[in-house]
Amino acid sequence: MSMKGVSIGSLVQPDRVHRSLYVDPELFERELDQIFGRAWLYVGHESQVPNPGDYITTQLARQPVIMVRHTDGAIRVLHNRCSHHGSMIAGDRCGHVASVFTCMYHGWTFRTDGSLVGVPVPEDYEGTGFDVRNPRNGLGSVARVHNYRGFVFASLAAEGPEFTQFAGGALLGFDNMIDRAPDGVEVAGDCFRVIQHSNWKIFLENMFDNVHPRIVHQSSARGAKTAQQRFPAGAANHISLETFRLLALDQSFMQRLEIENYPWGHSNMSGFVSPRGQDAEWLAYEAVLRERHGEERAEQILSRNFHHTMIYPSAVLQPSFQQLRIVKPIAVDRTQIDIWLFRLKGAPKIVFRKALSYANGANSPSNMVSADDFESYYRVHQGLAGPGSDWVILSRQMGRDVVENGTVRTRVGSSEASQRNQFQAWRRYMIDEDGDAR
């Protein structure tokens, strides 16, 4: 099968991809079906719904959903769509229902597992063939849900690899963040929500691009240096500034980073700034971790520093600073990112202070680093919209990465192995075994 006379499979080559992947609205719709409609997508964290009846709403691909804790204590992910005439059941981003959801349109009611409780005038349906007394005529549920150590993922497709097999090596990053918490993790407040005026893939590629920082972020790095010189005492409180400063060091600094890439497009990248400190408060935290996990295991957790962990195509975690960025493609040139901050329960305040500095400074809607990242995403998108030249080149370190049991490990940080790996996954989602478009 072909699209406008070109086979989709040929748009992704080992070392380059066609510009239409970023700008073609028809391909975008296919991605929503074939990638976001089948992959395991991040839904929410269990700490957002601590009690039965608590819920949050979000969107998976085109599907509005409710993540709710049912009376049995389990978390359900329901379609946010009334089984009568389709109205969204929950209109807020979060809330609580005492016993049932009531649809605001004609008053049908549903339990928190989606089952139908009742409708206002049941006689209307007598003899019509639609049974309003059957609880199964309630809200739909997403096909598959997996609660991974508190992080709830869902797949809109009934078929496909199960979650842990799908996520593979990317779970190392999630485990690392969770293991850093003496008493588990919880969401800290609401998320930041920002729009990028560019295709969603440009963002995910950028997460593992270690050549752009010294070019794109040179102004932030110089800004951070200025602040550190003029206000040394104040600047010392902000790990965000130290991170910005490091962004524009010599390229050899970034070359030391390691990226591991897994089937289905996922990646882990090592960190270049560590939250570890030598002050008493931080050392007290490390002591708590040693108490929980034992000397050796605690050291393993603390010394494993991931900058980015990605579960393609929806989640990019920063384990060492407890932030999670969720990708929501809105249109071919419009991407929403929800950015969540987590608290490591049982850890001294210093741990959260560093995470908060990083969140406010490097992930908020006002952060100066992404001001320049978003500008580059926008310019890339605009450049690719022009039909004049077709290909995007992804051949940095091509052929020099180490491949072992399906894992691709880079030799130097500048390798575009992750980007190549993301597009191989893209291709696998989008075409079938015969090379035809799905």
Binding site: D190, G223, A235, L356, S364, S366, M368, D372, S376
Partner: protein
């Protein structure tokens, strides 16, 4: 300090207008100088947010962070400022609030800010809460709290400049 001893509201209006004018004219060094050494520019993520230590904020900047932002805005290679952002502030409904207990004077006002960059004009609106500390004949800002009415909404564009 009893309200009777406070200067007329006109004095506070002039202070706020000057603050806004310094931002609109990109005169950030003088703007930062309006702040006390321990002054903070805070834009909460949530309406009514009281706690900046345990929850995220859109801006939470002391002078060090302000200086970093300003140095970037002025940098010849701040790509996100090519083209640069222009703003116009309108400040109204200036009124005195009860003090904050530290002896600071608390002034509230409403603002709208028009922001223009690369062919896109957008509007911000919200409330300022200024905690002002007396310094000679004038004041220093101990806290400039900026509550956008859409603080917890989806942000269409990065906020590069101070509102």
């Amino acid at each position: 300090m009893s309200p009777a001893k406070l200067p007329s509201i006109r004095v506070f209006e002039e202070f706020l207008f000057r603050q806004a004018d310094l931002l609109d004219s990109r005169n950030w060094d003088d703007w930062i100088a309006l702040f006390a050494d321990d002054g903070v520019y805070w834009m909460p993520l949530k309406p009514e947010q009281q706690d900046a230590e345990n929850y995220p904020s859109i801006f939470l900047e002391d002078k060090a962070l302000m200086a970093a932002r300003v140095a970037r805005l002025r940098d010849a290679n701040a790509w996100g400022q090519q083209p640069p952002t222009r703003t116009v502030h309108l400040i109204a409904n200036v009124r005195l609030d009860s003090g904050n207990g530290n002896g600071d004077i608390v002034v509230r006002s409403n603002f709208t800010v028009a922001e223009f960059r690369r062919d896109v004009l957008r509007h911000h609106a919200g409330t300022y809460t200024h905690h002002l500390r007396r310094a000679g004949k004038s004041f220093r800002i101990a806290m400039q709290r900026v509550d956008l009415i859409n603080c917890d909404g989806v942000h269409e564009y990065n906020l590069q400049v101070f509102i």
